[in-house]
Symmetry: none
Subunit: 305 residues, 2 copies
DNA sequence: AACAATATGGTTGTTATGGACGTTTTGGTT
DNA sequence: AACCAAAACGTCCATAACAACCATATTGTT
């Protein structure tokens, strides 16, 4: 049974958007007219706003954000307690509760939690805890595997939602985890962050040789490449392959962003890159710098040019 | 673009158009009546809109497009051409066309293609072709990685759909791919088949040690365990670990189904199991034997979803 | 602190939209 | 060929979205 999920009605009216963002209908209409909010028109002239676009605006701007819960399934209150979300997800993942895990991820996103925060403050620590519990054998490997599966499913659901908003003119980013690195969540999260920042993001997944990534670079000519490194088997091999890869990226004019918990200082010092971030928040801000979204609502008199 | 798959049905109904354009059926009817949308009429007066016309208008004008993917591929059970589906998917995967790939998978399922068939006749051969193209270097590894990602996303979308229909009293099945096997699609497909057959199915994913699977067995007490084996590094180690695992499953009264392309005759001869299948159709029929679903009286026109 | 510039939010009359209704067509099954 | 339920039809109408306008709130500059 689907309870009023976004899938049922991707489009909302100006009134709904107004209520969700805590501004008047007139304002919403004006924002649409000056391209702050993208919208389609019906043949009769009614504006149709995409729900996810409104949420995206709310997430990045400092808007009143009156009642985002109206747009989505409310958690409890409109204030999101990151710690509580993490706890809820941890519990759901350990119990293998697919429905709850999905709901936690989806609801916190829809309630306005930025994907970067979701990744850095919720998913990363929770998965670390699950992994740690396995190492200290309080729980078993299969718990961790089940948790990863459930988490992956939840994130792919988000991916679907984010890709629905595809605009026409998006810059391209591609990324992966290098050969020998089998963790799939970090690169998937990076993809989600970039999609949310208005990019077209192609994730090649784990265990991708850097030589292959270079070829993809030549074929697709992206403006940004990300590399999430959670596990390094052969540091020397990686560093040498990376140098070739970075030269290629440089030649193509693509920015390179690297990150991941296996990228310790000793290794990082030997690599050239455009930006490093041990947290996806960095990737998000970097991506938004490179490709700022069109406009943001102003208040009062605009600055002089 | 999915040619040879959508072109057989050039006409759509008002409801389909309404869903695709994100407006109500009443509105579509009115638009046709005032010549905003061109349409033909059946003898009985039903409007038939040409798919391409609606698409063209939606793109050229500013009409909302709720889900153009829906327009891409509505088909009927009777005329699903498995070959055409496979071709469409192959093309979409090679091009990295996320939307089309998703649409092909979702629509063939919705049109009534059994998941087993989708797995055996569409996804397996297509992914084999993509993999083969890589080995013969007509395409590169990154093509194959991108294809796998896109395919995974499409399948997780199906998973969501299947779990939404979950009944309450379902027997439990768990499964995985063994240690060293990093292919994730086969086990995911097996999970989907079991979900479709009315089971609660937990997929532990690739690279799961059999010892861990045994522990999961003891903790969850499923009625069925599946094991998809696409790659075997250490045959001897696997066989010996498997024997322990099978003994445990036997003790718990769980049926064991094994399959996968790495399970060649020489290896299989040394393993005890409840059922073997190199195709997921076998898993499906076996699961339905173990847990027959109440047969629905099929009267009148079936729902088209 | 006063001013200018502009964003906001409420009005107006007008009209597109979408749900409800009972009826008819349709297409698959027996 | 008869049957049947899903789906489309036409009609009606309350709701809500539109454009245009104006008073007020908010903000940067003088």
């Amino acid at each position: 049974m689907s309870r009023g999920f976004a899938e049922d009605r991707p489009y909302i009216s100006t009134l709904e958007a107004a209520k969700a963002l805590g501004v008047s209908v007139s304002t919403i209409k004006r924002w649409v007219d000056v391209d702050i909010l993208p919208a389609h028109r019906t043949a009769g002239g009614h504006r149709k706003l995409m729900r996810s676009e409104v949420l995206a605006l709310a997430r990045q701007g400092d808007l009143p954000r009156e009642d985002l819960a109206r747009l989505a399934v409310p958690i409890r209150k409109s204030d999101i307690d990151v710690k509580a979300v993490a706890d809820a997800l941890h519990r759901a993942l350990l119990e293998g509760d697919v429905a709850s895990s999905r709901a936690v991820v989806r609801c916190s996103y829809e309630a306005g939690l930025p994907i970067e925060t979701l990744a850095d403050e919720v998913i990363a620590p929770v998965m670390a805890k699950v992994g740690h519990g396995w190492e200290t054998s309080q729980i078993d490997v299969w718990h961790e595997h089940r948790g990863t599966q459930v988490c992956t499913a939840a994130l792919f659901e988000l991916q679907t939602e984010l890709e629905r908003r595809a605009e026409s003119e998006r810059p391209l980013a591609i990324g992966a985890a290098p050969a020998g690195d089998l963790y799939i969540l970090p690169s998937l999260l990076a993809q989600l962050v970039l999609l949310d920042a208005g990019w077209e993001a192609i994730n090649l997944g784990g265990n991708t040789p850097l030589e292959s990534l270079s070829k993809a670079l030549r074929a697709l000519r992206p403006r940004l490449v990300w590399l999430t490194i959670s596990h390094l088997e052969d540091v020397e091999g990686f560093v040498s392959a990376y140098r070739d890869f970075h030269r290629e990226a440089d030649r193509q004019g693509a920015a390179v962003v690297v990150g991941g918990r296996a990228l310790i200082e000793a290794v990082r010092a030997r690599l050239p890159y455009s930006s490093f971030g041990d947290r996806l928040t960095h990737l998000g801000t970097f991506a938004r710098t490179l490709h700022p979204r069109p406009k943001r609502p102003n208040r009062g008199r605009p600055r002089k040019v």
